[in-house]
Structure formats: C-alpha cells, structure tokens
Symmetry: C2
Subunit: 324 residues, 2 copies
C-alpha cells in the first residue's frame, strides 16, 4: 500500500504542477529535493511571482524511521517505527478575486520498534520510498488522512458552490454520508478560534481513515485518491473565471489583511505546521504555506454592508453550500 | 504595591507616547479603553502610518478576578484569585535602518480563592485599578517581570552597544550580576527555535522577581521602574540617528522579510501572545505587536558577505555588546 500511494502522489504532483504552470503562463515550479537525516525526504516544488500565482507550493514527502518522542505523545503510542508519505499544497494567487487553496493527502503506517540499525540512509526513489527492510515488517496500524479547502478574499457564491459540489460528487461515489461528515470536520478544523471565524469557506477534512469490517484499507485508498483526482476540477475553473478580473489597491489591501488571518491560523492553530516546526521538519517546506505579502492593521473592520463585511459574516457562520 | 505600580505604568504610558509622538511629528496615538468581562480592563494606544513609526502600540492593562483554569495550569497553582497589571509596547518604524523595539513591565498578585461574588464589575480608574474588596485580601504570592529588547533589520554595532549599555547602567545600580543574568535570559527567551536564530540583538528579560531575604518586594519595584525609566534613553537616540537615512526598495523588502520572523516568533513561541489568545484576552491589543507589512519568500537567503547576511550571523550567535 505504501508504494502504491507514494507512486500515486508522485504522479499527482506532476499533474497538479503542470496544470498550474499552464494556467499561469509565466512562472514555473522550482524543485528542491531534500533528505531527512533520520530517514526519507521529499520534493518541494514552489512557484513565485507568476502572472496568476504570486506564491505556491506543491510538496511531496516520504519519511520513515523511529517515531520521535513528540509524535509518540501526539499519537499516544509507545516506542514504534513509522512510515508516512503525503502531498501538501497551498496556492496564493495574485488577484484578490481568486481564492487561496490548500489540499493535503497522506498515508501513515506503524510497525513494532526495531533496535537502532546501522544501515546507510536510503535514498528517495520513485518505486521505493521506504527503507527496504521495512517491506517485510508487520504493520500494527495504518490510515489515510487529508482534505482540500478554499479561502476566498471576496465571496462569489457560485465559486463556493462549485468547489463544494465537486467535493460532494467525489464523496458520494463512496458513501452518501461522507460529504456532510467531512465537510463539518473541515469547518471545525479550520476554525480560527481567537478570531471566532473560519479560515475560509471550507471543503473536506478527514483523518484516521482505517480499515474496518465494512471497508478494507484498499477502499480508503480508493476514496482518498478520488478526492485527490477531484482537486483540479474543484479549483481550476474558479481560477479561470476570476484571474483576469480588474481589482483596486483597496481590494488588494483587503486580500493582504485577510492573508494575515491565514498566517495566524497556520502558526497558532494548525497541527500540521506546529508539528513540523517542533519535530525538526524542513522549515522552508513547511512554511511555504505562508503568503508572500501580508498586512496587519490595528482593529481593522470593513465598512457595513460592503463585500468585505459579507465575507466575514459567512466565515462566522459556515454555510451548507450544496444546499444553498 | 499594586496601586503604586499601576500609577507608575499610567505615567510611563503618557511619557512614552508623548516622546514617540514628538519624534514622529505627524501621527499621534489613538486610545481605545476596553473592559474585561471578568474584571478590569486596559488602555490600548496605537500609532499608525506616521512619518517615523509605521505601526506601534503602547498598552496598559490591569485585570483581576478568579484565575482562569488555563492560567492555573500554567502557574501550577490551585484555585486562586489574582491581580495583574503591566505596560506592553511594540514599535515598528518605517525606515529599515531603525530597529523595532519591544518592552514590557508587569506585576502579579495572587490571593486565596473567594466564592463567586455577585458584585458589579468595577471600572478601571487611575487610583484604584482592582476591585476594592481585594485591598483587604491576603497576598499569597506577588512578583514582577518584564524586559526590553531590540530587533534591527540592519546592524549598527554602535546602536546595539548603546541599547545594551543603557540596560547595563540601569541594572548595575541594583546589582552587579543583574545585567549578565537578565541579558542571557533575554537571548534565551527570544530564540526563534525553528529558525535557530535570535529574534533580535536582545536586551533584558526577567520574571518571577519575588521578595526574598536580601530583597523586599519594594526593591524589585525600584529595579523594574529603573528599567522602565531607562527605556526612552535606550531607544530614542537610535531612532534619532537612523530615521532620516535613505533606503532602497530592496532594503525595505529585507525589513519586511525579517518582520516575517518577528511574526513567527510571536505566534509560535511567545508565551505572552499565546497566553492572551488562549485565555480570551482582547485580541486587537495582543496582536498590535504584529508588523504592518510583512513578506514571506520561499527559501530566501541574503547574498554572501552582504549587510543582510552579517545581521543573520550575529542573530545566530548572540554577542556580549557591553564588552565588544
């Protein structure tokens, strides 16, 4: 399963970066390959200063080894070995009418702890992301997680509806209850507690998708890759529709102020970010999610009945976009 | 003691905001008075878009009541009542050659817990910041804390030396060991762990200054107010010297990129900020510390042997400025 999913995210990274480069027309992704001292590594691809995309990253990683103490506490497990791989992306467009998007799909395996091995560190290759001696290990736990969500600066109902409808269609192929469940988990997770508002208009968020009596792990693979495959359909039509709209400096300022809330969420509340920062992850790959230009103004409040205020009202009361 | 120190910070807020307005020449501080539902409140004074100061806040607060659960865990105490007051300031100048400065001086008291009282909430007045019925309460613990530190974007050795020399002179009046001790605590506290560098060139940081056999609480009052009184001497001459220096867009960009590190420290590591965000503090007063314009670029590294790289080298290896 780990090779199968790793191969999937390798292909998906290629597919997504090609599609984004095509729509940008000017900038292309720069790739940095990195290694993790304790095992594994990743490929970070970043686009900057494009015509459409001001800054964005589409990263894959596959790491393995002894589960660090901090992660043991987090997962409430004893001494174990692990393998984790995933694709993580955040795209910050230039035009304030094009929403920021985030997505992540990941897979995790745990094994009984083995004594410290003195093997040479393995390289990250397409077909064999983990250390070869992990292939024969007994898997004691395994699960998928991830999701995708949209953060607009100006709200176009049709864009939010489109994004959510694509999410729902993909979910419905697997279970009629999934969309409502994972949509709600997304609204709950991306809640900026100290601001009492959502980070954006949501989408899907799921975690700990484990094999059970009804669903073997292959079914979860099929569900998660269904969502991964839906990403470009969910996002690209919105970019196409909004990328050439004219905007004012005031609208750009509003985008930069709202990006401040994005930073606040990611640095104060996002488990993935804090986790990476506190477990010696590759800082530049983790923080590629932060927007290029950001503003903080003291006690900034939009004018009553303005489009800016309208956005905030929706963020304070998440809507059911597929019923609206 | 609490009335005495509160009166001191009221006067100090006036003194500091007047001095900063005078040097700015254009912008003035706007005051917001706020109340805390559970007891007490504060006066937030913010300056924005000045000729010299792009954004800055000089805030005082005096809060009291039942110590919230999260603070009980933090201080490792049981059910108690508390009083806390302090002055907190962060100033972000426009010119990248003028350093950002932060300072804070605070006082804390704890009392045995009283049953929930149904008294009307008391107003914040100059002479009586706490609820009157706390005056007669037995103090079970009391301490001072605070400090001041400098964050330059371009390093002028003479500025760092001046700032530290003023700190040292103020410390030396009280104890020959204080400067080294509190300078080191400052370097340790304002360490941006995930970047492996200091937030700035430091200054002083102290906490839990409690009465002991050598020093009654009055001596700590006298020490902390000595530092508070030294603030303008430490900072203003640097502003005067640098505020009219010409700068390029590239230097301004560097300032905004470094401000990103300031945001990272405050949102990821700063105990005061996280504390406020998680205990229902007044968000706009807490986050006034965030800079007005900020940039994040992927994997940005200054040119070898540039002034920008020189700054980073010093931030990675804090210096003893009074001996340099």
């Amino acid at each position: 399963m780990k090779d199968k999913f790793y191969n999937y995210i390798v292909e998906l990274q290629n597919k997504i970066t090609s599609a984004l480069e095509k729509i940008d027309g000017k900038a292309s992704f720069h790739e940095d390959e990195w290694k993790r001292t304790e095992g594994g590594g990743g490929k970070t691809r970043v686009i900057q200063n494009g015509d459409v995309f001001e800054k964005g990253g589409v990263n894959i990683s596959a790491v393995h080894g002894h589960l660090p103490k901090s992660m043991q506490n987090y997962f409430k497990v004893e001494d174990v070995d692990f393998f984790a791989c995933g694709l993580s992306l955040v795209i910050h467009p230039k035009n304030p009418f094009v929403p920021t998007v985030h997505a992540n799909w990941r897979y995790f395996e745990m094994y009984p702890s083995t004594p410290l091995r003195m093997t040479p560190s393995t390289s990250l290759t397409k077909s064999s992301p983990g250390a070869s001696n992990e292939k024969s290990k007994k898997i004691i736990d395994q699960w998928f997680g991830g999701g995708q969500d949209l953060t607009p600066y100006y709200l176009f109902d049709e864009d939010a509806k489109h994004f959510h409808q694509v999410c729902k269609t993909a979910c419905d192929k697997h279970d009629a209850s999934f969309y409502q469940k994972y949509k709600k988990q997304c609204d709950d997770y991306f809640w900026n507690h100290h601001r009492n508002e959502a980070r954006g208009v949501g989408g899907l968020f799921f975690d700990y998708l484990k094999a059970n009596d009804e669903r073997p792990i292959e079914d979860w693979y099929s569900f998660v890759t269904e969502i991964g495959d839906s990403f470009l359909d969910a996002y690209i039509p919105i970019v196409e529709k909004r990328k050439d709209m004219k905007f004012t400096q005031a609208q750009r300022d509003w985008q930069e102020i709202r990006r401040g809330r994005y930073v606040e969420f990611n640095l104060v509340h996002d488990k993935g970010t804090l986790f990476g920062l506190k477990t010696n992850g590759r800082i530049e790959s983790i923080l590629m999610s932060l927007p290029p230009h950001v503003q903080w103004r003291y006690d900034h409040n939009p004018d009553p009945n303005s489009p800016e205020e309208e956005l905030i009202k929706v963020l304070q009361n998440p809507k059911d976009w597929t019923k609206a």
